[in-house]
Symmetry: C2
Subunit: 312 residues, 2 copies
């Protein structure tokens, strides 16, 4: 039995044709055309479904969609996706079911990425874990016994808005000291530019002095892997702050397996090594020997694979 899994991102729509338990039969992508407005995006979603159905080798069980924005699981609406201008509130579930006469399931994109790792990636063998995405912001999907933990309305997993300093700086969300206000790409790069500019002498000093906007997490990670102490220190700083939030989440949820994906997780050892030494020190003794911090395995395929998994 086949399932379509579709990940609607700001620039591309990724489409997968899968079958259980973890077989990706084929995949392709289309441009999202977000700048042409929501009707164009909807046309592209329909086009992706049409092409995907033509590639199924059996009658498809359903269509799973990973969407940005707020999903109302009862009403079937998707509201205000931040990267799809003009979208507003749309009854996406009904629009797709009416057109394609197939079951449709819609899920938050961070949850889909975690589910994709659960069924197709680093989560195999770990029924329950926290699937964390380190990117522009910090999000997470909570996977319990192979399924997404939703909370009351489906908003669970906002790890980025777990506070690591209740007296800390105001976050855009209104809270204080949210970990995303330290470790989102923008605040992390601001901290990195300040540190490099103030200390000088490292591999990235001249870059920061001449073209500070060219500094990226990837460049810091490369320098760290080449042994630049300043860049190693920057990822140790990142890991330390991430450990503060993860320790709280592990203590509250009793989920000691963490799977890290997203652009910043691509840094590899400079991030994982300090995190693996810092995190066990901050959790309750019951968890200390059970902590596992694993890199995500499916990269930017995880979303579309998780969307297909909504029908597994």
């Amino acid at each position: 039995m086949n399932m379509l899994g579709i990940d609607v991102g700001a620039t591309t729509i990724k489409v997968s044709v899968c079958s259980a338990p973890d077989i990706l039969l084929t995949d392709f992508s289309l441009p999202t055309r977000a700048h042409e407005g929501p009707d164009a995006v909807l046309d592209q979603i329909h086009e992706g479904i049409s092409q995907g159905l033509a590639l199924c080798d059996t009658s498809p069980l359903g269509i799973g969609l990973g969407m940005p924005g707020t999903i109302d699981h009862h009403a079937g609406t998707v509201s205000w996706p931040p990267n799809l201008p003009g979208w507003g509130v749309r009854p996406l579930l009904r629009l797709l079911e009416d057109r394609w006469k197939l079951p449709v399931r819609i899920e938050n994109d961070a949850n889909c990425a975690a589910l994709g790792e659960a069924r197709f990636g680093a989560g195999r063998g770990h029924p329950s874990f926290l699937g964390v995405t380190l990117g522009t912001g910090i999000g997470a999907g909570i996977i319990v016994d192979g399924h997404i933990f939703h909370g009351t309305l489906g908003f669970a997993g906002e790890l980025g808005h777990l506070s690591i300093d209740g007296e800390g700086a105001l976050c855009k969300c209104g809270g204080q000291g949210c970990v995303e206000a330290y470790l989102g790409i923008e605040p992390f790069l601001r901290h990195a530019r300040d540190t490099i500019g103030r200390e000088g002498g490292g591999m990235l000093s001249s870059l920061v002095a001449t073209t500070p906007e060219a500094l990226t997490p990837k460049r810091i990670a490369e320098a760290a892997r080449q042994g630049d102490p300043q860049s190693i220190g920057l990822f140790a700083w990142y890991a330390r702050h991430l450990a503060m939030a993860l320790a709280s989440a592990i203590n509250l949820l009793d989920l000691p397996v963490i799977i890290l994906g997203g652009g910043i997780a691509g840094a590899g050892a400079p991030l994982f090594a300090p995190l693996q030494s810092e995190l066990p020190q901050r959790v309750l003794a019951a968890h200390r020997d059970r902590i596992r911090v694993l890199p995500a395995e499916r990269g930017n395929q995880a979303g579309m694979l998780g969307a297909a998994s909504l029908f597994f």
Copy 2:
């Protein structure tokens, strides 16, 4: 159909005979005799069951126990309950099933208290909530769709070890800035004595100057209700720090209903009023209008009622 629900505390064993959905038929208590060692405690548990079974008006469905310590749900063991000296690790499930030839379920006492509120108290009408106990320490039971959320091994709900300052003071658990290190009874009273001693002039100043060990949360709450600005300020401080931890938990779990029990929650308005104004400011906009902070309704009956509810 009847169920026995038993709450094993440090000083008393509380026994209830219940029937679904929320009927307490009768209850009584026995001394725990913890100082006489674990065999005496076990005898008292058996005695409570014997007396409870004699009070059932139908054949009992099972025996539920709320226990302190670490519960291994697979092995049926209870390990190292902090207030039952010498207990070690005991196969309590098997011991009780062998003796009484009835189904037995054992659950952490904080989880039982939350479940008792869910079925018999403030949680009725709220399928999902965080049931928080503010006492010597700070614990919580996470209730989702009427059931306890366990996490991987049953340790979920350790709200007291959610950090509100990742650079803060070392907690006994090894973490830094755990909310329990601020709001457990001992650290709260230390803060209160320091503040009153330093500022002077309030209703409790002479008490603190002469017999500082006589200061209790209850006395501070009484003074606050009588309008003492210093005592009002102390509970505002408590509420502000509690809000830091609760906001993180709400953002992560999407559970905007909080039920507060335990000794310190008995303070009432001096605690609830500042908490209800502080908490909505710290959570994501999606939760702001959905926050409910409710007092627990079943007091120290909640544990035995929740234990009986393990069979509902």
